[in-house]
């Protein structure tokens, strides 16, 4: 009984902390929708890089990565905005930029990552990957979605619009209950 009560005392604040984390990240993501300029996002990755992304050359398996390039002014402008957004949270978090790929509705790609190297979805090194159902939902409905699939992780996904009102990207505001200070130092 004593152990049960002790566990309860320990668990209740933890659950509360997780709720707080989700709430904070949701607020970050909500503001991101307003602050992140979708037109600039669309200028980040060059058409040439996108063209190479899906080319297959058995003799040159690294062609897509070798030809990946970005317009640095657009990249820097958005990255700085994302970093500022991450500072809204009272705990370490990243705000990553994700974008769909024209002509490949079943794929999604991360475009900007940040200093804590956190993401609930990015398999390390991928230029693009299969569409994440929750991301598809955000891109389709324009509503924010909270994802806690990986134990200890909280991501809030929110849409990014361009000047035409189209949903052209989304942000992943993400943190971890227990940060691993050595993961992805590679």
């Amino acid at each position: 009984m004593k152990i049960f009560l002790l566990s309860l005392v320990l668990l209740v604040p933890l659950a509360g902390a997780e709720r707080d984390m989700a709430r904070e990240l949701d607020e970050v993501a909500r503001i991101a929708t307003v602050m992140v300029d979708g037109d600039v996002c669309q200028r980040i990755v060059t058409p040439r890089a996108l063209d190479y992304m899906f080319k297959q050359d058995p003799h040159d398996p690294w062609a897509a990565g070798d030809n990946y390039e970005v317009n640095d002014e657009a990249f820097i402008a958005i990255k700085k905005t994302l970093e500022r957004l991450s500072r809204l949270a009272p705990f370490p978090c990243d705000v990553n930029l994700w974008m769909p790929i024209a002509g490949h509705p079943d794929k999604i790609r991360v475009v900007i990552r940040n200093v804590h190297e956190l993401s609930q979805f990015w398999p390390w090194g991928a230029l693009y990957q299969d569409m994440i159902p929750q991301m598809k939902q955000v891109l389709g409905t324009g509503r924010r979605v909270t994802v806690t699939e990986k134990p200890g992780w909280v991501s809030v996904l929110a849409p990014v619009y361009n000047s035409l009102g189209d949903t052209v990207a989304l942000v992943e505001a993400v943190s971890q209950k227990r940060l691993d200070s050595h993961e992805n130092v590679k």
């Binding site: 003799h59 030809n67 990946y68 200093v115 190297e117 130092v185």
Partner: protein, 614 residues
Amino acid sequence: MNMSTRARASTVVVAFTAALFPALAANGTAELQATEEYRRPDPFGGIVAADHGDLSSFWRALSIEGARGAYVSFHLVAKVPTPGPYALTLRFEGDAGNLQLDLFREWFHFTDSDKQYYPDALIPVALPYRSHLPEPDNRIAQQTAQAFWVDLWIPPDARPGAYRARAVLEAGGTSSVLPIELQVLPAIVPDEDVMLMDHNSYGTSWIADDYPNVSRKLGEAFFQSDEFFRLIHAYHRIFYENHGIFHQLGYGHAGKVGPEFAPALEGSGRRRHIANWNLYDRHYGPLFDGSAFAQSRRGSRPIPFVYLPVNPEWPASFINWGEPGYEAEFANVLSEMERHFREKGWTRTHFELFFNHKKRYMGFPWDGDEVRFPRDNKYFLEYGRLLKKALPADTPVQFVFRADVSWDMEHQFKELGGVVNMWIAARDVLSWLPGMPQKLRDRGDVIWYYSGPPVVTEPASTITQFALQGWIWSAGGFVHWLTVDPGKDPWFHFNGGGTALVYPGERFGIEGPIASVRLKIQRNAVQELTLLASFQKRIPVAELKSEAARLYNHTSLAEWYNPRPALADQPTYDWSGTALDEATKPAMSHLEKIDPAGWSRVREYILRLAAEEK
């Protein structure tokens, strides 16, 4: 192990003897034999196929020679056809002076790619060594032979002359003796390696994975524990002892820095400063003052090179990039680091400002590593300006600006001259720039080149090509891009070791890394090459290189280079990997299949010259 003319003659005799009585061991009698280091034994009494051996590869007596300040090595093979216990002893006879010997049991790795066994990991064992065949932990049901790697250490002050040793195998009520005659030459291998062999790695999370006993015991405290830092220092030690150095990159592609790789920071903008050196100094202090190597046979000395944790997100936050705050944060912290290093007297290590990120990993908008798009070079110029601003002009601390270069190197050597002064160049493109390494060294730059470890399924001698090629090219060093990742199960389902030259020793009760056959072969080649290079006092270096190339793979020096291809005049971002491979084929074709005896011939030449030394 050298086969001098005299020694070769005795080898012919013993090989002939072996050929006359090949059935002895098969009849059930245990026998102790030896092979040269490039003929790796298999667990069934033969030589691994890649090393092209046969019965004549096994010797029943050894006559070997070596220079002072160097190791001489060979494989001992205990052939025990009938399962059961055995014992092995190895000792000098008579006055051994200050010579020392080390014995390692060779682990036979089952390699998934070709379903064969290869010896590579070297487990230090005490003498006498007693065990059973089949070796219980290696789990090879039909094993009839156990291989051991023998290192004979000849200190620089050893007495030249003849020494004798004797190895004895006892099994099944019989004993087999292998006599060893070692001739120590007066020549001394110089202290400084002619090629600095670098062994690279990334982060430290792999240490927790490779040493589960200690990391689980300590839990979250592991990464700040004395045990953790002892392990890091043990990796530096094993590479240093084997004539190499060790690099650990301490940050990720989006700028995350491992806490033990950088001092802790506080504040922002003009108030950003270093708050705490604790972990950094525990990590690096013994490496920068050399005390981590106090027990080494090579003597203690500071590590010559180290990565700084600097990246676009450290010490300045990228949020301020291009603004005065970025410059302030960068200059404040770098100048504090310079002061700390100077006050500690850490002035013999080169501190490398190095950018490893690639834009394909989405952290930053330019490639720090292997620039392909020339417009990225402007960032190097800017960081060069920031570094210059941060450091006193007369600092005794050696900061260098390092760039790892491939496609754009020819252009970068010019555009970034005077800013970048340490170059790690891709082997392929450098192959069509003969004379460039010497030019760079003449202007005071460091120039190394890079590739990766050969897998165990290639001939054992393959690894000797890197030191030789670097020396022929006049590069000062070579980088194996990853050397501490032996894969998920190196013991029973090995991936070949293309990213490993050491193994975690925890499985064998050793809290630290253990070496590999490939690392030892590389070490021996480096020490011998260093001796060869020292002869340029009396023999033109071009002649030394030319003869070494001829003996190694029957090539001329010109064949170690490629003609500059037409694509070199095209924009680098238009080069295809396929075209690059084609352009480098001619020179690479001579290095694809190294004759197992290739380095033996070079060594014989070196020791012949050494014997002529006054």
